[in-house]
Amino acid sequence: MNTTVFLNIATAICPDRDIISFEGKHYSFALLNERSNRLANALAGLGVKHGDRVGMLEVNCNQHIEVYFATAKLGAIFVPINFRAKADEVSYMLDNAKIKVLFAGSRYIQMLDTILPKLSFIENCVSTDKKLDGTLAYETLVSSSVPDEVAADIGDEDITILMYTAGTTGRPKGVPLRHSAFAGYVIGNVEPANPIVEERNLLSVPLYHIAGIQAMLAAVYGGRTLVLIRQFEVKEWMRIIQEEKVSRTMLVPTMLKWVLDDPDFDHADLSSLKVITYGSASMPFAVIKSAIEKMPWVKFINAFGQTETASTITVLGPDDHVIEGTEEEKEKKLKRLSASIGKPLSDVQIKIVDESGQSLPYNAVGEILAKGARIMSGYWKDDEKTARAKTKDGWLKTGDKGWVDEDGYVFLAGRGDDMIIRGGENISPEEVEDVLHSHPDIEETAVIGIPDPEWGQEPCAVVTLKNGKTTTAEEIMEYCRSRLAGFKRPRQVIFVESLPRNTMGKVLRKELRTNYEQLSK
């Protein structure tokens, strides 16, 4: 099954129910389907064909979902771009994907003006909210096209989304995701739309993130109403939960901590919430323990996955969040809650291996490998990185370290590589280092993640200066401000005489992490 069928099924079952509630506007399943059809016909008129890439640079909004389905209905590939990225980063992703038509919010058009002249393959740019010079107007495209269903030949194994994710080395990597990867997960885990059962899902995570896309597709198939917010803000989040009677949502650990710490939390009526899923970064034990105590009516789920796995591959379910039973059982559950990501879903295999790739026994720490039909076949146009990420027999190296206990629960033991994860966003140290190396006073640098109670980790730059040069930490952080997305900017700069290196000259990041991990506490 391809994902466009989700919308057809739900439209047949509950055509008049809202699929989108966004800033006072409501779109029913039937209307979403109609607008997506109109947009698909408009895109076909612009020359978009099977396999072409259509980009989207905008915060969460109804247009995001319409453009996804319009693109998918043509058999083309949807490319959501991180709206926090700076011009250089956006330019790289648009170029790597060779975007044919780009949709963008008007606030990004000024930035795009500086980079689009260099990207001649972009044939059309569509402003999603207002008409601007040199762009097509979104609503004009929709209203001037016919609502007929387009009849493209879409295979289950066709790529539907190209999503960019940070790697530990260099630029973001494109991950092509197939219809079957999403269909396999959604059909296997989500109840289909039901004319009687109504659920409302507040989408707190961005749609350029795999968790956002997965939640959107699950909502469409499940006949749920998606309540959209442009970006997460804690008071707005609480207000919307109350007003919209939201029943489920997904949060990254940093967001959940903000919710619990907010002075208005105790007065907020969050009684409509039934399910909170969390993931994308390690959950501090104190935060989830506090959440369970403060919201005992909520079922909590820890969902673990990556862009490369088309999202969730293991789940620590609601029962694992209820600390009851004998003392031995309670101890076991508390241990799981503190570090386990649960058990693999039925269509996923997990194994733990040592550095030579040999499988390890229960409770031995090694790298977590995953295999299954949903795992990506490889990175976009990058055989070298694909070869590093996957074994010859199809196992994905997740880069996470962990172990499996006798009951089949998978536990995390930190990253096996140098990736920094800040508030659920992956940061490549090398990408930050490339910017720092362009600073006229910096001789060499290594960027590491240091623990942070709020964000999980913060990027920290350890630098040496060129002979005779002086500068300040503030000046270096300011230098990065205009060159890197905000979340990637180093929050601390440490000046050293030299970086620790091994005999081959490689920087010993582990030693740096050990030396500076206490820095933020």
Binding site: N8, I9, A12, I13, C14, N189, V190, E191, P192, A193, N194, P195, I196, N201, Q214, A215, A218, A219, G222, G223, R248, M250, K274, V275, T277, G279, K299, I301, A303, T312, V315, G317, P318
Partner: protein, 46 residues
């Protein structure tokens, strides 16, 4: 009569069907009436 939004499964061959339009009669597969699939016990993670 089939129920809108319900999933049916053939006990013989494992085929599943989702009802998107209500009509007379029962879904049949392998010469047997298909069984209604009950909702999952656990909520999905999304």
């Amino acid at each position: 009569m089939v129920q809108m939004g319900k999933r049916y499964k053939c006990e013989e061959c494992g085929t599943e069907a989702l009802c998107t339009k209500v009509g007379e009669g029962q879904p049949i597969c392998c010469e047997k009436e298909m069984e209604v699939l009950e909702p999952k016990a656990l909520p999905s993670s999304d």
